[in-house]
Symmetry: C2
Subunit: 196 residues, 2 copies
DNA sequence: ACCTGAACACCGTTCAAGT
DNA sequence: ACCTGAACACCGTTCAAGT
């Protein structure tokens, strides 16, 4: 017989939070938001429904993780390029986020229903703050403006999703009105801080 | 025995759509959005759950009617007063709608998830168009601006609801930035059209 | 036309048990 | 620690039947 070293009871890590979130994301992309159920996720991951509760306290926690998962798919290199005009950088972030949200119908309501306090959410918010600081906004104004940006992005896509229309013109028009309203807030406007 | 005149089969109109929507609204106000269920509505109305389907094809239709019901509770007299500055009139509409939505947590997601094409929704939208026209916006710009207003209002309240904060300062600040961005769109600005 | 009881096919979640 | 089968308390919706 083999040596009787203390065998750990049961498999140690055949699953993980990531496996569950991957299954949830696949379900969201293929079947829509209303099909993202605990039982559906478990079935796709090949486990029993209640096994999910080993990793997440409840469904809300799974959806919160799923929202974070979605934001992680957006990486903006152009947004970080401080040599570009700040309005263009905002446009880039807005377009990329909007496209990601429109690609997964229902994901907007996911973001609107969960606090955007995860790692990826904070990263995007921080990138936005940098852009707005480069635009000349004071820290508190930049924070308010970043929130305003979130409101506009999520609100726009939510209405686009329910009304079944892709109104890119309207989206960019509203974004520009919003940026126009922010311009007077810039105390030290500088388009190319790298050259100053 | 009494005369055998053709008695109509069953009670003719003991219920109505309005009774069901009233029950739904009461449930929303008292127990929250997630407790607005077909079975709950029926119980409060004193009928069997499937009786609801005599008046509405499915739950989505009930919620659509409920969204309309909510908007009907907002009546703005000040918004119609063309003697007031247009920014004040917008502020009034925004404040009243926001207060109504915050009073019923979950109602925001109700509005965001249903097309705002009902009678009350159109009335509010029309009032907004009048204000924006008085502000000097051309019809197409006014239409875009009205949509922008919807996006901002619903997006703001949605984020306020999920983050459990009532940030009135932030709300008004963002609204003003938005209105600032609209000012250049006014081709024929006139504050008091009644005096012209 | 309007309402009912009963059933169907689902949910999220919990519990006791097994490794 | 991790996973399972079974159950509980719900859902929305449909169907056949009654008035």
């Amino acid at each position: 017989m083999t040596e009787a070293r203390p065998v750990r009871p049961g498999p140690r890590r055949t699953l993980s939070e990531q496996v569950i979130l991957d299954a949830a994301l696949a379900l969201l992309a293929e079947l829509g938001a209303d099909r993202v159920t605990i039982r559906g996720i478990a079935a796709r991951a090949g486990i029993a429904p209640n096994a999910v509760y080993t990793y997440f306290p409840d469904k809300a926690a799974v959806l919160h993780g799923l929202a974070e998962q979605l934001l992680g798919r957006v990486h903006d290199k152009q947004a970080a390029d401080s040599a570009l005009p700040w309005r263009d950088r905002v446009h880039t972030v807005a377009r990329d986020l909007r496209n990601e949200l429109l690609a997964h119908p229902g994901s907007v309501h996911l973001l609107l229903g969960n606090s955007l306090d995860g790692q990826n959410a904070r990263a995007i918010g921080a990138a936005m703050l940098v852009i707005l600081a480069d635009a000349g906004l004071a820290p508190d104004a930049a924070a308010r403006a970043a929130h305003l940006f979130n409101v506009y992005l999520l609100g726009s896509v939510a209405l686009e999703t329910t009304d079944q229309v892709r109104a890119t013109d309207q989206f960019l028009w509203g974004l520009d009105r919003l940026l126009d309203g922010l311009v007077p807030c810039a105390v030290t406007p500088r388009d190319h801080p790298g050259s100053g």
